[in-house]
């Protein structure tokens, strides 16, 4: 169990900051008010079997830290600008390298039509754009069948433009829509690179474009929202592959389509939600003059329920199920990951929470699916089940 200096400094800041910054910070520049907000979290994970999410969880790991700072301003009634820096260190993921999470200008012509341009968080499913902000969720670790920590960079944002708006449906509620196009993001310190490295593939170049839409209907039933998302990406990879003497390899696809349907229902002290997601992805592989195809598709879903026992204490459970279309090896544990989690979240203050969560995981997915389990971080081999305890605390201002 290693607790590094960076974690110690980060934790010190974590516990000092809420007292010092228990509200947003505003400053004025050129007669305009800018809001500054931030968040940070620190986790500890201990698992009985496999190392999970590239952390050394089998011996207990504090390498689960992230945070971000946001600056934004409403420059005119219709025009706002903002940017957010995000940094994380989760095992081998992120490695403390700050990244521009989003930065854009937003002009709202009408309530039913606005435009955002720059680097924009992608609207996909219930939590894609909020997955890094643990304080917005009951869970210490979101359902990994749909929101894998390893693969956040693949769909987290795009550099391009969105159009969005809210259309009143009068007695039928309201419809929020977003449509977008741009170039896709990737993270050399993300799970995709680690999984391909496990297979001996070193990625030199990664690019692609993305387009899609999201629509969510706030129904006339109080607290019930139903939504759907569709995303199409292309992928162009150049690299070398070690098992073939570091020969050059090109991987591309004509389409990589993600479809999501989801629902969220909040009533009284209860909160339920669920999402189903399917990724269709057929890769064209060019190696040593030969061409082949591979099905890299998968699907997953989760359902969850949470209950506010008191104003500060919330307890919940979720069932998360992930399926690989075509596993690399025909091992029973190698085509799925089923995770059942139980959580208690306690809000110490309005800005500071602590969560204790148990995970009971069956299967480890495909060896190269980048869903938490890697050969590189489990050199002794993967076991079919994993039980894990996660304790996570976070604050925001």
């Amino acid at each position: 169990m290693i607790f590094g200096i960076k974690n110690a400094v980060f934790l010190a800041a974590l516990y000092v900051a809420p007292a010092a910054l228990n509200a947003q910070v505003d400053f004025k520049l050129f007669d305009r008010t800018f809001q500054v907000h931030g968040f940070a979290s620190q986790g500890f994970a201990y698992s009985g079997q496999n190392n999970y999410l590239t952390m050394k969880t089998s011996t207990g790991s504090f390498a689960m830290t992230d945070g971000g700072v946001t600056v934004s301003s409403q420059l005119t009634d219709k025009f706002r600008v903002g940017a957010q820096i995000y940094d994380r260190n989760v095992g081998e993921l992120g490695k403390w390298r700050p990244q521009l999470d989003w930065a854009y200008g937003d002009y709202k012509f009408k309530d039913w039509f606005g435009v955002r341009a720059g680097k924009v968080k992608t609207a996909l499913g219930l939590f894609n754009d909020t997955q890094d902000m643990e304080f917005l969720h009951t869970w210490a670790v979101l359902p990994q069948a749909v929101y894998p920590v390893d693969l956040r960079a693949n769909v987290i944002a795009h550099t391009g433009a969105d159009m969005y708006g809210t259309v009143s449906l009068h007695k039928l509620g309201a419809l929020n829509y977003t449509a977008y196009v741009g170039t896709r993001t990737n993270d050399p310190r993300g799970g995709y690179y680690l999984a391909t490295a496990d297979a001996g593939l070193a990625i030199k170049e990664f690019s692609g474009i993305v387009g899609g839409w999201d629509a969510r209907w706030n129904t006339p039933i109080e607290g019930l929202m139903i939504g759907g998302s569709w995303l199409n990406q292309t992928e162009n990879i150049n690299g070398t592959i070690a098992p073939y003497g570091n020969a050059p390899i090109q991987i591309s696809d004509d389409f990589e389509q993600t479809t999501a349907v989801y629902a969220d229902y909040m009533r009284g002290k209860w909160h339920f939600n669920g999402e189903f997601r399917r990724n269709k992805n057929v890769l064209d592989i060019s190696l040593l003059g030969a061409r082949s195809q591979a099905d890299a598709g998968d699907k997953g879903w989760f359902v969850s329920a949470a209950y506010h026992v008191t104003k500060k204490l919330e307890m919940g459970v979720y069932n998360s199920r992930y399926y690989v279309n075509v596993p690399t090896t025909p091992i029973p544990a190698g085509d799925h990951i089923f995770d059942q989690a139980v959580t208690a979240r306690y809000d110490i203050t309005r800005f500071w929470n602590v969560k204790v969560e148990g995970h009971f995981i069956d299967g480890y997915g495909d060896l190269y699916s980048a869903h938490g389990f890697y050969l590189g971080s489990n050199p002794q081999g993967l076991k079919p089940t994993t039980n894990m305890l996660v304790i996570r605390t976070g604050f925001n201002f």
């Binding site: 809001q35 934004s72 009634d77 309530d111 902000m133 917005l136």
Partner: protein
């Protein structure tokens, strides 16, 4: 039968509590806001920041109390959320860049003063609050 007085007192307290939380607040706005009435749906949209202008074209921005019975009652009755769910909603907007945190003030007097001086501001205060310099809006 000997528990009846206790039950009566409890019922009276509950009744008082319900009365306080039902409608003991009024909606106030800056004089730049043209409308004198607003629908419940519009009000919800304004406070959820999906609507930034009213039918007459005037720009609006919500102003909230930080806490208290008036705040809890308003949020529950018109926004259909608990305070914690509302805070989660606002923070989701802030940290995805889709909105700014609305102004939150500690007292009715601060809300009245802020609304009076801020173009487009709409807030709520307990019904007994003196509301000089602002207009009162009816919710229909």
């Amino acid at each position: 039968m000997k528990h009846l007085p206790c039950l009566a007192v409890a019922a009276a307290c509950l009744s008082l509590s319900l009365n306080v939380s039902a409608a003991d607040f009024k909606l106030i706005a800056n004089s730049s806001v043209g409308a004198s009435t607003i629908s419940g749906d519009e009000l919800k949209s304004v406070f959820l920041i999906t609507k930034t202008s009213l039918g007459d074209g005037s720009h609006v921005e919500p102003v909230l109390l930080k806490s208290g019975a008036t705040h809890e009652a308003f949020v529950k009755q018109y926004l259909g959320k608990s305070d914690s769910a509302l805070q989660t909603y606002y923070r989701g907007l802030v940290f995805t860049g889709k909105g700014s945190m609305p102004k939150e003030l500690s007292t009715d007097a601060e809300v009245v003063a802020y609304v009076a001086k801020t173009k487009g501001a709409i807030g709520y205060v307990s019904s007994g609050t003196a509301a000089g310099g602002v207009k009162t809006i009816e919710v229909n």
